[in-house]
Symmetry: C2
Subunit: 155 residues, 2 copies
DNA sequence: ATCCATGCAAACCCTTTGCAGTCCA
DNA sequence: TGGACTGCAAAGGGTTTGCATGGAT
């Protein structure tokens, strides 16, 4: 059984990156009044271990010892607290990924499934303008970009 | 029983607009080898009668005499043939609406549920640029804009 | 006469929920 | 200790599918 509680900050050796991420998220949740539990840490850890957008099922498969409901509840909590954001594939399948805070969009590779952040994109203003031109008061939007990543495009 | 087959083009009196839409779509489908059937016409008619983005359930409710499966199959056919496009609400509920051919996006009113087309919007170029800057070869995108329509914004 | 389309019901998938027991804080 | 959290299993909803019948071409 591994050390679960995030109280071992005195370690001399740096903790693995994923463990750090888990600690950070757990700390954030603690600040909001959510408890630090082993199953919850496992869910967060599994999410952090994913290399591309994942499904709830992926986490369940990676955590056979954690109840399905717990995985779903944990995932929902992470989304609600903005630790994880939703990603919508081209076929409308819903996936998740650790969120790099702040507003941004994703480019999804149709071949390998990789996801890249689309930053510094001034779509907002364009949309804002087009919306008000049509008498609309824009309050939000949803955008996903599909294509091929650099590696897959050269194949 | 109403005249179902689209062979009565010799009518002296103009047909109601919705009927014309149904005829057009049926004709398009016929050109692709799909049959002209009464249930299918009913589905198309019900879709055309909607004033805002609708769910499959809406059609089922409007067509108690048509089998659920038939409604779903008909709807899917319409999407596949580009007669109807999908609309994604802010809560990710999936809806549909007759498509005004050509690429465009929708602005959805969170209050009344109305949908307006967002045309003449050069988001594409912006995205295209941002994507290739990140080494991505963009092939498509999904965009929904949420807010309040003119009427609901003034409330 | 084909064989596509329909209707029913059951199957399906994914997610949520009820509840009793467990465990942080 | 008490309330939050967990796990199981069952319920839930929205959509699809299998199969025998019916209908368009």
């Amino acid at each position: 059984m591994t050390t679960a509680n995030g109280k071992h900050s005195g370690h001399r050796h740096p903790r693995p990156r994923s463990a750090v991420v888990v600690d950070e998220i757990v700390a954030d949740l603690a600040g909001r009044g959510y408890r630090d539990t082993e199953p919850r840490r496992l869910v967060i850890g599994a999410a952090a271990a994913q290399t591309r957008p994942f499904t709830a099922e992926d986490l369940c498969a990676a955590l056979p010892c954690v109840g399905r409901a717990t995985v779903y509840r944990g995932l929902r909590l992470l989304v609600e607290t903005d630790q994880v954001c939703r990603v919508l594939l081209e076929d409308r399948e819903l996936r998740y990924q650790l969120s790099h805070k702040g507003h941004h969009h994703h480019m999804l590779c149709a071949v390998c499934g990789a996801s890249a952040d689309l930053a510094d994109c001034d779509v907002e203003e364009t949309l804002q303008a087009a919306a008000s031109a049509a008498g609309f008061q824009m309050s939000g939007h949803w955008l996903e970009v599909y294509g091929r990543c650099q590696l897959c495009a050269t194949d």
